[in-house]
Symmetry: C2
Subunit: 513 residues, 2 copies
């Protein structure tokens, strides 16, 4: 319809718009960021402004990135563009490659998000498109935030939660097992020291159930199950290695992060955490997508409930359990719930190696093993045994107790660790410092959240032996001058830092006369 | 309750946690960003991860910033922290000052946002807290996104829209005038070339109405009113200078950005634009907060409506007008609406200087002045005259027409420009290139959005003389080979870039036989 005629100097103009990629070495997490000079011909020609979403086009690949603009200083030369680590990884520019730029086209998935904001429900294919764009890095954190908020506050119906769960499974790898019953467990929300998983895996696989357990590393807590198990054996197994362990022993304890199952989950959780948003629908999809992707058929959900736990009331726990069961049913998972006491930490150790010592003490039936951790391990194992169809009620509990007491669980644990690469002894921290009771009294309550912060400041989980050791639990009577807990750290500096935190905050232990 | 005893090495540990600020020169727009080395003691001790929100504490000031982490390269030394421009501006570190860091405390305003997400309504004091935190830079873009989405899709009731409007006014400076009637106008959504404001100010202030007009620069369009007026006179007047102009001439045409009125607005609009979110409540608060802050009492809202305009249907225009009137009433503004034709560009020029030439032609009653712009200027001026109480209906239109025809408006315009610093001639671009019709036919429609993009790529608004000149309007018959429009650019490169865009996109003019 209209003529473009001769076009003076397009080639010359285009050349000036090709920039040389420079790796800045800056981790902006998932969201790719690029930095352009304000005086670059690209910025001027496109009218780019800081914070714009732009498309960065290489010879092989293109990405959508958030733009920062260099207004002063010599970070970049005029013909260069700076790339964040995520931008660099996704573009993987070849030697000598030049990049070009334009405003990002509006994405279909954001039009679905807007439809949701305006009150429509999302179909499964719309949810697929959104989750695929999240995983591909095509949505910014600002856009992911919009999606999460549009779905929060009970705005997802049951079909949407199911659709989101399936979309999250589809976005990653899905394992399958040649067994009709594959059991699994998951604990909602952190209770410091509540490290039942290695005990449960050992007990139930010693009884013949198949439990190919993948766990996560800590996100906000002082230790994830994978962090703790890593102090005793290798956890970063490939899928093939994991299969061989499960084939040989019926169970495993590996790090799920190596498997790329439900990769959308981590990305959504990061933004949810920034917003401190608790969305039941998102939580259900997050938990169940990982279980479905892991190839589980029967899942036990442990919901510790208490005033400083993630789930704070029985009503909240029941509502969550109901939502989990509804979606589990829709996607073909059998799910049982266990609403447990979340009022205080479990065991003595908090931190990867310290928790591993507790786990080993329980499995080895040591006389000083923490009985609360032992009882919880048995309780969860019995629930998994019942779910797996081996026995019900007291009989299931008796089966679990016998397997632990007669050493079968400990033998199985050692066998699994050998199959994963060998059993090793968790270490001990070089620096410790006790926090002492300033009065005599009974422990009325313990603040789980502050306790976890203190353990993290001491270095957990990145320093494997760091964390803290509990000298007392709720209900215990302590004498003035006795240790309430002992901080463990890998360096004098981190120890000092944790002590400073404890000194500057309200008491973690509340004592009554 | 608990003892902290002696604390080994806190001082030493604390020293290592103080870092030297380095200005990176990177504009991340409003959101402060800091970069820490992954191996810095701060990152390790606090367990900071990329994308965390952290508090950065100086001797005088502290800010909340988003964390990026340097994982490779030599951008920073171990004792340094990199600051984005917004972080640097807000902290303004003194020579030799050292900064410390901790996780940002959860903000009260985000707990209000979460309450809104969960379905509660926000009180005026809660909205005040949110807007104050937006302006102070304490909320990240991810958090602002959550606020906007929680309020979008009709989730704000009338009281909340009013509360938001008041909160936005409170967050900035508010002007006041010693006149009972202060008229103003605002146009919703861009129609290329629709530059009626200078014409309206000239007409109505020549008739004795007080119209202290502040305008914005372009955000997404090829020209804002302030950009256009700036090619004819000075617009960055201080408040005192503006007062003197209004006292002398009854009207002015200045840039509102210098006044710090409703500073929250720009920040919210940036994130809304990223999300491409059109929220009626936000739009109402945005428009009316600026008018209230400017001290206006009577406001005319022009709503161009058409398929490629911002407001696309009569129903949408009516709904928006109703919402505007409801809130205007609540905050004590008298508001009239004018739903106008938004089907095609207005005048001949698109771009700051090109539009100024059209404005001058109309004011000077030149025979070749674009009649569509003249008619629209008269229509809006008549509506303002009626709103200001000088006359009604045809009489108001006749007043406006007479003031324009007999040169009073042109005299007033020159007087205002002189008072603002002198009248100057808008320039002409050194490079032009016509886009020719490839067939003979009648112009059936023009795509406003693509046309605006082409003008921007040619350099508007940063190059004042850049943009495009329209050779035809809808309904005009054009011969094959006649110019549909002519691109104007300040450089050969930008001209080439705009031509390339036109060549690669669907036709902007649609011709019919």
């Amino acid at each position: 319809m209209q003529e473009h005629a001769e076009n003076p100097g397009i080639a010359g103009a285009a050349d000036a718009l090709l920039l040389r990629p420079v790796r800045l070495g800056v981790d902006t997490h998932h969201e790719p960021v690029v930095v352009l000079r304000a005086d670059s011909p690209v910025c001027r020609a496109e009218g780019f402004e800081a914070h714009a979403r732009i498309e960065v086009i290489g010879q092989q690949r293109s990405i959508i990135a958030t733009l920062n603009i260099l207004v002063t200083g010599e970070l970049l030369r005029p013909d260069e563009v700076g790339l964040s680590e995520s931008a660099w990884r996704r573009l993987a520019p070849a030697e000598g490659e030049r990049l070009r730029f334009r405003y990002a086209q509006p994405s279909d998935s954001m039009s679905h998000v807007r439809a949701k904001i305006y009150g429509q429900h999302l179909s499964e294919s719309q949810l697929d498109a959104i989750i695929a764009d999240v995983v591909a890095g095509r949505l910014s954190n600002v856009e992911i935030s919009a999606f999460l908020v549009a779905c929060a506050g009970g705005r997802m119906n049951a079909a949407e939660v199911t659709g989101l769960t399936r979309a999250m499974v589809q976005s990653g790898r899905r394992l399958s097992w040649p067994h009709p019953v594959v059991v699994d467990k998951h604990c909602i929300g952190g209770l410091p020291g509540n490290r039942t998983t290695p005990i449960v895996v050992a007990i139930v696989s010693s009884l013949g159930l198949v439990m190919p357990k993948t766990s996560s590393r800590a996100i906000t807590s002082p230790a994830g199950t994978a962090d703790t198990v890593e102090t005793m054996t290798r956890v970063d197994l490939s899928l093939d290695e994991m299969r061989r362990v499960v084939e040989a022993e019926g169970g495993c304890m590996t790090w799920g992060g190596a498997m790329n199952m439900s990769p959308a989950d981590d990305l959504l959780i990061r933004v949810e955490r920034t917003l401190d948003l608790d969305s039941e629908g998102q939580l259900v999809a997050s938990v169940l997508s990982k279980k479905l992707a892991a190839g589980s058929t029967h899942v036990l959900i442990d919901i510790p409930t208490g005033p400083t736990a993630k789930v704070r009331s029985q009503a909240e726990a029941q509502s969550l359990l109901h939502a989990l069961q509804r979606t589990a049913h829709a996607i073909g998972l059998k799910l049982h719930g266990l609403i447990s006491d979340g009022s205080q930490p479990v065991g003595r150790g908090v931190g990867p190696a310290l928790e591993a010592h507790d786990v080993l003490a329980v499995l080895q039936n040591q006389p000083d093993a923490p009985d609360d951790l032992r009882q919880r391990g048995l309780q969860v194992a019995a629930a998994v045994i019942e779910l797996g169809g081996l026995a019900t009620g007291q009989a299931a509990f008796d089966l679990a107790t016998a397997a632990l007491a007669d050493g079968r669980a400990w033998s199985k644990f050692q066998a699994i660790c050998r199959a994963q690469g060998g059993l090793r002894e968790p270490g001990r921290a070089p620096f410790t410092h006790p926090i002492l009771a300033t009065q005599t009294g009974r422990v009325a309550r313990i603040d789980n959240r502050l306790l976890a912060r203190a353990a993290k400041l001491a270095g957990a989980p990145h320093a494997k032996t760091a964390g803290l050791w509990l000298g007392a639990h709720v209900g215990d009577r302590v004498e003035r001058g006795a240790p309430l807990f002992v901080l463990h750290a890998g360096s004098q500096g981190e120890l000092a830092y944790a002590l400073d935190f404890v000194a500057r905050h309200p008491p973690i232990f509340h004592l009554e006369d």
